[in-house]
């Protein structure tokens, strides 16, 4: 006969009092555990933060000693232990970048920026990473975020540093318009910091705004007429402006102030002399002299273009040869003035061709300055 063999036992039902009492115990346990956990979490967090800080300091020291790999290990430990501290993550990314791993550094910075897109240091670090990878437009954007971002301390100084890094990047890229746009907001900053003023003035020259540079150098020289560096800067600005005589005067003045270290200066003086002697547009020259100088300029420009295009496009170079020679050898039928115009015009066109097709050559420094002046 079949019999039900297994009868599961029912747990005893609690009375209402027991039910409430059990609930009360649970609630007390929850409250107690919340306090216990909070205390434990505080102890744990403090210990982790302290250890992370120690690792960070060690990592920074190792970076200073050039031990990048060991530093990365320490900084990674710091960053893992105290993930809330963005400084550790940024330091780790920068050390990783220094170790030659820009992609890894980029990956490390992304979550930090996601967490706080306005974080100045993180934006600056990311800009450096991208600049290292040659992704300059993206880097520029992150530099801007760093300049206008939030900084935990020394905000003004760090922002200026970031801006100068961006300016250096733009100068290297020869992005004149962007460079000028970055320089204009700071041209009146730091009036007491002469070194910075001279740096800004120099960058104005690079940005193609030598007039602004001249103004700054004048101001610097008014304060200290014995500042040789300012004279040199002023000379460079004058060269850019095509005021070769002023440039020479300033270079000689600088030479007088630093006679012992004048080889570089002497080279610039020689350059100034060259351009002064070559410039066909110089005021006060006789017509025959202007003709001679213009022919000379055309010949030099032609040679420069020939040197460059001869390798790149032999057929174009040969055609240029015949055209230039025909012009140079033919007598000035329409008069000397027209001849000067024709020579200079052709030289300008050739120079334009050279600029578009060939890389700049230091040998052509004087030629470049003259054409620059003619273009003005």
């Amino acid at each position: 006969m079949k019999t039900p063999l297994v009868q599961p036992a029912q747990p005893p039902a609690a009375t209402v009092s027991e039910f409430i009492a059990t609930f009360a115990v649970i609630l007390v346990a929850i409250a107690g555990l919340l306090l216990f956990d909070s205390a434990l979490a505080t102890v744990d967090t403090n210990a982790r933060k302290a250890f992370a800080a120690k690792e960070f300091v060690t990592g920074e020291r190792l970076i200073a000693r050039g031990k990048i790999e060991e530093a990365v290990d320490r900084l990674r430990a710091a960053s893992t232990l105290d993930g809330d501290n963005a400084a550790y993550g940024i330091a780790l990314a920068q050390a990783t970048l220094a170790g030659g791993h820009p992609r890894a550094a980029e990956q490390m910075l992304l979550p930090l920026l996601e967490r706080d897109p306005a974080d100045g240091p993180a934006n600056l670090a990311m800009a450096r990473v991208l600049a290292k990878e040659g992704r300059n437009p993206e880097a520029t954007s992150f530099y801007h975020s760093a300049i206008y971002g939030l900084w935990p301390q020394g905000a003004e100084m760090r922002r200026t540093e970031a801006r100068f890094e961006l300016i250096d990047l733009l100068a290297r890229e020869n992005s004149r318009k962007e460079l000028l746009a970055e320089l204009l907001p700071i041209q009146d900053d730091s009036t007491h910091d002469v070194a910075r003023r001279k740096r800004i003035a120099n960058l104005f020259v690079v940005a193609g705004a030598p007039t602004r540079a001249v103004a700054i150098y004048r101001e610097v020289l008014r304060r200290d007429p014995r500042d040789a560096e300012a004279y040199v800067g002023m000379a460079e600005a004058a060269l850019s402006l095509g005021d070769f005589a002023t440039a020479r005067t300033n270079l000689v003045a600088a030479q007088k102030l630093v006679p012992t270290d004048s080889s570089a200066l002497q080279a610039r003086v020689v350059l100034a002399d060259s351009v002064i002697s070559l410039d066909p547009t110089q005021v006060g020259l006789s017509l025959p002299e202007q003709v001679r100088r213009s022919r000379n300029l055309l010949q030099m420009t032609h040679l420069s273009v020939r040197k460059c295009l001869g390798v790149q496009a032999p057929q174009v170079a040969a055609a240029l040869d015949s055209a230039a020679n025909a012009l140079l050898l033919s007598p000035a039928r329409a008069g000397q003035a027209q001849s000067i115009e024709q020579n200079i015009s052709l030289a300008e066109q050739l120079w334009g061709l050279r600029r578009s097709r060939c890389a700049p050559d230091r040998v052509d420094g004087a030629l470049a300055l003259i054409h620059n002046r003619i273009a003005q």
Partner: protein, 593 residues
Amino acid sequence: MRAIKIPALPQRVRRAVEDLRRKEDRLSLLLSLVIGALVGLVVVAFILLTGRLTTLTYLSGGSSWQRVLVPIFGSLVAGYLLYKYFPLARGSGIQQTRAALFIHDGRISLRSVVGKFVTTTLTLASGIPLGREGPAVYMGSGMASVIAHKLGLSRLQIRSLVPVGGAAAFAAAFNTPIAAVLFSLQAIVGDLHAPVLGSAVLASATSWVVLHLVLGDNPLFHVPAFHLVSVAELGIYVVLGVVGGLTSVAFVKLLLWLRAAFTRLPRTSLWIQPVAGGLTVGIFAFFVPQVLGVGYDQIERVLNGDVALKAVLILAALKIIASSVSYASGNSGGILGPTLFIGSMVGASVGAVAHLLFPASTAGPGAYALIGMGTAFAGTIRMPLTSVIMMFEITRDYRVIAPLLIANVIAFFISQKLQKEPIYDALAHQDGLHIPTRPGGAQPGIRRVSTAIREAPGSLNPEMTVGEVALLVTDSKFESWPVADELGLVGMVRTRHVAAAQKQGREDMTIERLMQIARRSDGERSVDLPHVHNDQPLSRALARMRDNGHKVLPVVSRANARIMLGVVTLADILEEYGVERADQLDYKDHPDL
């Protein structure tokens, strides 16, 4: 624990409480919140204590000898505690939770919960490379069970709260509330559509909130943004799926093989067995310190691209061995943590090789380590969907889904092909537990074995001879008889086999030998111990009879398959279905026959 009594209660309060107890939905809602909060807090305490003690134990890494001695000492102490005081706290806790749910009506004792907390904390703090998540799930389920029992809830209510506690614990342990619900329903209940879904979600969310309240919004791993460099990279994720699947199978097989070997050792050695794990870990850690502990910090480093191919390969291999020995020898700890570790190392290895070969079209090894974790989870635990959701919750990055799905499905498929039985089922079987893969429930219209069970006719001893047995069984209406030794049921012997042996004059042959010969002649149909469980449908019993050729099957306990509760016969099953057997038909009622 004795229930606490409080003095007089205002009538209004009493009525409100009684009303609450009557309305199961409201009570379930309230309990889900309470259990979620309590379990979350306990798991947070567990995580913090384990981490703190580990840091203190291995302050500044520790010396080489410290790395050898501490795991040995830790496993020795934990082993003794497990043997002496908390025998149910061994291992992961997942299969124990399932056993509690399906075999013991959801009952888990407070002692087991405390034991799990203490022994796992001790084990993990000493550097044994096992996970904290499985034990956390057991503790969560246990607390839910204890609370439900103390509140005097019904058996059904207690059972329904066990997976709720498990979900809350998983959510706090992994910081993945959605995956926690899926894991609980799949791994514990075995049914994603279980009615406890709502409660599990609520408890999981509450636990997650508690976790964030105490520890802040810190994911389990800080992972860099995932990106697929090129579509061709998906091909490499296919390779990762294959490698991850094969590694999972290797891990599972080694673990099960070692565990089977340990279970064959004398029971008196149970207290010292965990030391085998401690010793293995200690020796490995002497040379490679990163083997110690669950290794989440190491995983984070790898995820962030700090990968040296040789190092990650060595770590993957050592961790597979160390975790397998540690688990198999009976230390308290889970396999989810080691699974993630092994997966990340294997993924990083594949990624490192791929990046070496195709640097322009592949992401760094960290991305592969992430997907590798998912494949190992899908391959080892056999929950590909839970794995995808979990990785999504860890990374919080939607872009991870496509490669993860591809790699997971491949790993899951390979694992399923090469290792038929999922790990938690296999572990339960090694413990003699026969847990259903899906909940039985009270589905109307399904007749269960319990309705047709009858008392066994008695059992035969395997040492008895054919001649002795023939005297007992020849005239019996039972076509098969249970055979049992002093430890319980060992098999079934058919009456016709006994008669045939007697006819051949082999009366001195033992029943044990006769069973061996029968098994050999049955070939593929042979099962060492053909049986059914009380809660299984009668259709299952019929199918099993067809598969084994027995018309009588023993009904055994799910907690121990050698404990026979009774037998079920073909005749009884047919009777239960209302089918008359041909030999019992009254031909007067069926003139057409």
